[in-house]
């Protein structure tokens, strides 16, 4: 081996490089040498410029590059030996090229031998870390704009995490590259992990944050090319299981975040949610969700972990944003992405609610309601406050009276609710606001009054998913706090500007605690019930068995008696 390598080194590389390879390798070599020129030293002291191109690549960047190929250390040692660098003591172009070829061979699964490099090989793949090497390579890549194909590996977990960090640095890339066939241009080293399907390019336009040093991340022509091969396989299974309409060709060139949900994906998830649960503001129970997600053919521990990540409030049910997050994680997992350690910020329920304000349904469920619905809020809030008894008749009148004045009152009293509802119930404002939000769902007709009170009790809140126990408690809380403001606000509306302000705030903190204790109690009750359920089921099984045993005995005894 070494002799062959030596011979190769001496008389020029016996290996035939294709044009693409030639360009790629020379580019890499140039980078290694160029980068090293400012470095401390170039390899071993006896490095001599005997090689054809009178340049040697320093050990540092070369080592980085090789490590980025993600091959085990021993393989890299073997390669270094074989290519002759160890023997001659430096990385001349010959050695470098041979080494690159060997890396490609190793990555393709061929043994590390000189013979391997004689055959046609794909280009070696490198996962670069997010360090100056990126900038170094990235910038030169941009300068080059080469037409080499360098397929990308799907990232490992750590690179994946780094990617999460860099997602903000993605730039929009015009999809000039045809995805599968021949990626036209490529900067060599990126850890792009695009979720190929379903990610439209529209989405990426929102994510361009730091174009400067990372402009070079001309991503994904090649990545998309590479990704194109993988996703179709996953997609095929996914299509079968979910009958999803995905376009293998629609490889996003913005690998940025795989954890970001695009519009089309969002729509799909929402439709699926609707198929399971017609009321978008309600939630999907655990068993329903379990059956649904089991169809994805992921393993139970993985599904369990995905559930753990997405069910933010741990109540055994999924609201729409939680469902979207869970679905998205499943999709990502099926496409080969490792599951994150924690729920990514773009999949948090608050984020999802804020990011996708356009409602699918009539109800302005996800609107940022602070500005959009004050008029809607006020009459209903007031209505609730006013009505200790269901005063249906008075409602239209009081609404008109109150609307103008109390709009300001409650507006000032209620802090502008945040655009995204926190998963846990917070001060009364968000509750009232969320309740008010639900009102647009209902008809604006005269039935409003009648519905406002039952709405309180019956309509589940968008956030958090409420179970019957909780709803009752909450409506009790509402009732208690409504008593107090009703006494103060019930008066002439014009005076109400200042009064409800401090009162509402005081109540909010009290309610907070009350709600939190209520939640705890509910959780415990829930747990107890769940366990009782399982125990009862076990008992049921035992009873069944006993019954069968008894019946058998009866059968045996019967003929005896007959006789």
């Amino acid at each position: 081996m070494e002799a062959a390598a030596g011979a190769g080194c001496g008389s020029g590389p016996p290996l035939l490089l294709s044009e693409g390879e030639q360009q790629c390798y020379s580019e890499l070599f140039a980078r290694c040498t160029g980068a090293a020129s400012g470095g401390p030293g170039s390899g071993p002291p006896e490095a001599s410029r005997a090689a054809p191109s009178a340049a040697t690549a320093a050990a540092g960047p070369v080592a980085d590059l090789f490590r980025a190929s993600q091959l085990p250390a021993e393989t890299l040692h073997q390669i270094t030996e074989l290519c002759g660098a160890k023997r001659v003591g430096y990385f001349g172009p010959t050695q470098f090229y041979i080494a690159l070829k060997l890396i490609a061979a190793a990555q393709s699964g061929l043994p590390v031998r000189i013979e391997s490099i004689k055959c046609e090989l794909p280009l070696p793949r490198f996962m670069m870390s997010k360090t100056d090497s990126d900038i170094r390579f990235g910038n030169s890549a941009e300068l080059h704009g080469t037409k080499t194909q360098i397929p990308y590996l799907i990232s490992e977990k750590n690179t994946f995490k780094r990617m999460d960090d860099e997602d903000k640095q993605q730039e929009t890339q015009s999809p000039t590259m045809s995805p599968l066939a021949s990626p036209p241009s490529s900067p060599p080293h990126y850890q792009r992990v695009p979720l190929s399907h379903g990610y439209s390019k529209l989405r990426s336009s929102t994510e361009q944050m730091h174009p400067a040093p990372y402009e070079a991340r001309q991503p994904e022509g090649p990545s998309s090319g590479n990704q194109g091969t993988k996703p179709p396989r996953h997609q095929a299974s996914l299509i079968r299981s979910f009958s999803v309409e995905r376009e293998p060709q629609d490889n996003s060139n913005y690998p940025d975040e795989p954890w970001r949900i695009t519009e089309e994906q969002r729509e799909y998830y929402v439709n699926q949610f609707r198929s399971l649960q017609p009321d978008p503001s309600s939630f999907i129970s655990g068993s329903v969700a379990k059956n649904f997600f089991t169809k994805s053919k992921l393993s139970i521990p993985e599904l369990s972990y995905i559930w753990e990540l997405s069910d933010a409030d741990c109540d055994g049910a999924l609201t729409l944003p939680e469902f979207c997050a869970a679905f998205h994680l499943i999709v990502a997992r099926k496409n080969g992405y490792p599951l994150p350690e924690g729920l990514p910020p773009t999949l948090q329920p608050e984020y999802l609610q804020a990011a996708f304000p356009k409602p699918k349904w009539e109800c302005a469920l996800f609107d940022s309601y602070s500005e959009s619905m004050p008029a809607n809020q006020q009459p209903h809030d007031l209505n609730r406050m006013e009505l200790s008894i269901k005063d249906v008749a008075d409602f239209p009148v009081s609404t008109e009276d109150m609307t103008g004045d109390d709009k300001q009152a409650t507006k000032s009293g209620l802090l502008p609710p945040p655009p995204a509802l926190p998963p846990r119930p917070c001060p009364s404002q968000s509750e009232q606001a969320s309740e008010a939000e639900l009102h647009p769902q209902l008809n604006r007709a005269s039935s409003q009054a009648a519905e406002s009170s039952p709405t309180k009790k019956d309509t589940p809140y968008s956030q958090p998913p409420s179970k019957p126990i909780r709803r009752k408690l909450r409506s009790e809380n509402q009732a208690t706090e409504n008593q107090e403001p009703s006494t103060t606000v019930g008066g002439p509306a014009s005076v109400a500007t200042v009064k409800p302000h401090p009162i509402v705030q005081k109540q909010s903190s009290k309610q907070k605690k009350a709600i939190q204790t209520a939640i705890r109690k509910n959780k415990e009750a829930n747990a107890v019930l769940a366990r009782l359920n399982s125990e009862l089921q076990q008992q049921l099984k035992e009873v069944h068995q006993e019954r069968i045993a008894l019946e058998n005995q009866l059968e045996q005894l019967r003929p005896v008696t007959v006789l």
Partner: protein, 139 residues
């Protein structure tokens, strides 16, 4: 602060057991196993009539020269057993109670996961991290 934490199912098999891996873990497992008898004794001592009023926290089950074992039972007879180092005298009853409460809450969260079948081993990462936070920091 705890040296070993175990969750035992109603049928007295472990759902989750984890100890500080510095010494012979088998010893901890054995202690947990023997403590189950004490737990059963305490439960039965309460009497059937008082089952509903029975408090979940059982308190110190039994002390050894090096360790103390605390117990906690839920309403569905799932037992939490915790072994703490005797040298850690700063640990008060309230702290133990709060640790059990945290355990119970995490266990509840695990239960809420529809993919978890009661009776399975607990493999939740959140639960693991919570237990890790409770385990003693060995310098």
């Amino acid at each position: 602060m705890a040296v070993c934490v175990a969750v035992i199912a109603k049928e007295n098999y472990p759902l989750y057991i984890r100890s500080v891996p510095t010494e012979n873990e088998l010893k901890f497992h054995y202690m947990v196993h023997t403590s189950l008898d004490v737990v059963d004794e305490k439960i039965s001592a309460m009497g059937k009539a008082l089952v509903d009023q029975r408090e979940l926290y059982l308190g110190l089950l039994y002390p050894t020269e090096d360790y103390k074992v605390y117990g906690y039972v839920t309403n569905s007879k799932v037992k939490f057993v915790m072994v703490v180092d005797s040298s850690n005298t700063a640990l008060r009853d309230n702290e133990i109670r709060s640790m059990f409460r945290k355990l119970h809450n995490s266990y509840t969260d695990v239960m809420c996961n529809p993919f978890y079948n009661p009776g399975d081993r607990i493999q939740s990462r959140a639960f693991d991290s919570m237990v890790t936070s409770m385990m003693i920091q060995v310098c």
